[in-house]
């Protein structure tokens, strides 16, 4: 049975904290862009964007990234990176500080794929990573710069993130 481990309020607070940390570690947020990994990473990006706007009165660009073509955890038959066309990001990331956002950080393969996609779209000055949940079990040397919540999990457990925009409510469950 699914067990709620993070409620809406805690999630809201975690996102606010990530925002503060982004401000703290980037003197000036002018050259920031947020790139959300589809699907829930995009909502994470938008929420951070709206908080930054409220706090600093600056709108920073948000892009969506669909990394399905880049995944290396798909079967070999399906995977042929050279053949896929990258979806255009719609924003210029050259010389920008890109903050990649996602809901859950797990093996790191999604992030690696996202970085591949970013690299093929331009040459960012820097890439940082913000995630709502880090659940461990990394298979690649990747670490998040901004973490909402560290949640120790076994590999058999599943983390389910619900967000208001798509699921009607904010919560994180484990099952």
């Amino acid at each position: 049975m699914a067990k709620e481990i993070i409620d809406g309020q805690t999630m809201t607070r975690a996102l606010t904290r990530i925002t503060y940390e982004i401000i703290e570690r980037n003197k000036g947020i002018e050259d920031l862009v947020l790139v959300g990994i589809k699907t829930r990473g995009v909502f994470v990006a938008h929420r951070i964007e709206s908080r930054l706007k409220q706090l600093e009165n600056i709108s920073i660009p948000v892009a969506e990234l669909d990394i399905t073509p880049y995944r290396d955890d798909q079967t070999h038959e399906e995977k042929d990176i050279s053949k896929v066309d990258a979806q255009p990001l719609g924003i210029d990331i050259n010389n920008k500080h890109v903050i990649l956002t996602d809901d859950v950080l797990y093996t790191g393969r999604t992030i690696r794929a996202a970085m591949d996609a970013l690299m093929s779209a331009g040459r960012p000055k820097k890439i940082s990573l913000a995630v709502l949940v880090d659940r461990g079990h990394r298979e690649l040397p990747i670490r998040a710069d901004f973490v909402g919540k560290n949640i120790p999990t076994s590999q058999r457990e599943k983390i389910k993130v619900s967000m208001k925009e798509i699921d009607g409510e904010d919560k994180i469950e484990i099952e």
Partner: protein, 362 residues
């Protein structure tokens, strides 16, 4: 016994005396707290104040001795409308309690008229006396309230509030015990020091973070504390609460101004700027930050009061410093503000993590 509440401007409010029968003088403050008279009366912030409570029928709920915010009572007098002689939980009555604390009180006062008068004319000195004549009013006018309120309420000796978690040093400017309750709940290993503790003394305690507590009086009376903050903030995460937050602001190029309508209310809405979330929290402050100076400082405004738009919370843009003007520990009031302590602990953890990363790379 007939007694009189006499204001500095000569206005007289008659009532019936209870509690101690001494003549008392202090700064008159109107409190719109719904509950928690126990907390207000023992709150060090009320040092030197005569508090007028505007709630009706005081004392029905009984006196809860777990609600003390300091060991001794702090206020100089209590003004109420109606009161009840018996309680729902058969504790001692409100009047018996005030008597045991040796505080003078006056009841059956038209607190509605009193609070309107203060709203129109501003906070002023007042006295509870047995007579009212010209002489009495002259006495009140002549009396100068002591400027060293913080010195009077701050702990003389350092003392620990031990636990197993983060080490927090609290600079006691008029600390409410509920702040310690919140830290204990979060396993913090706290040490409380005198307001005048030196930088060395604090550093030698090797804190993970420092809290500058709430307290009474005008922040400008504490220039030394402001200087110490300027040094300490380079090395430690800092949380300022109430008076503490004003000092943090003054240490970082901000200016403070008196509130047009002082906030003395146990449940007033505060909005978190980033998320738009509204929390109801306890307020007990007469100053706020001047909006004009925020832009030029390194602070961002994190919370504002919904009712009048004044600043209620700040955070430094790149140093781990945060401050709230309201009272996140509640006591009394809604518990919506507890999260501030979580945020401070997150702030400390995040600094530690960064340092960890840095040391791994260096």
């Amino acid at each position: 016994m007939k007694r009189y509440l006499i204001l500095e401007d000569g206005t007289v409010f008659p009532g019936d005396g209870f509690g101690s029968s001494i003549i008392t003088t202090g700064q008159l403050v109107i409190s719109n707290n719904r509950t928690g008279i126990e907390q207000s009366v023992t709150d060090p912030n009320t040092e030197g104040q005569i508090i007028a409570f505007t709630i009706p029928s005081v004392g029905n709920s009984g006196i809860n001795r777990d609600f003390y915010e300091s060991i001794n009572s702090q206020c100089k007098g209590v003004v109420i409308g109606s009161s009840s002689a018996s309680t729902v939980n058969n504790s001692i009555s409100f009047e018996e309690w005030i008597t045991s604390l040796k505080i003078p009180g006056i009841k059956n006062v038209d607190v509605r008229a009193l609070s309107k008068h203060i709203a129109e004319h501003g906070e002023m000195k007042a006295s509870i006396m047995d007579t009212h004549d010209e002489h009495a009013i002259d006495q009140i006018k002549a009396l100068v309230l002591p400027p060293d309120l913080v010195k009077r309420v701050s702990t003389r000796q350092s003392y620990p509030n031990p636990n197993m978690g983060l080490k927090i040093v609290i600079v006691d400017l008029g600390l409410k015990y509920s702040i310690l309750r919140q830290l204990s709940y979060r396993d913090c290993n706290s040490i409380i020091v005198n307001y005048n503790a030196t930088i060395e003394e604090i550093k030698n305690l090797h804190p993970d973070g420092i809290i500058f507590s709430n307290g009474p009086g005008d922040p400008k009376d504490l220039p030394k504390t402001i200087e110490r903050i300027q040094t300490l903030q380079k090395d430690y995460p800092i949380l300022g609460i109430g008076l503490g937050s004003l000092l943090i602001a003054l240490a970082n190029d901000c200016q403070i101004i008196p509130l047009p309508q002082p906030h003395h209310e146990s449940s007033l809405a505060v909005k978190e700027v980033a998320s738009g979330k509204i929390d109801f929290v306890n307020h007990n402050h007469s100053y706020t930050l001047d909006q004009k100076y925020i832009g030029g400082s390194d602070f961002i405004v994190t919370n504002i009061c919904v009712a009048d738009g004044t600043i209620e919370g700040i955070r430094h843009e790149y140093l781990p410093i945060m401050g709230v003007l309201f009272e996140p520990e509640a006591a009394p009031g809604p518990t919506d503000g507890y999260y501030v302590f979580d945020e401070f602990i997150d702030l400390i953890e995040s600094v530690k993590q960064q340092e960890g990363i840095r040391s791994q790379w260096n």
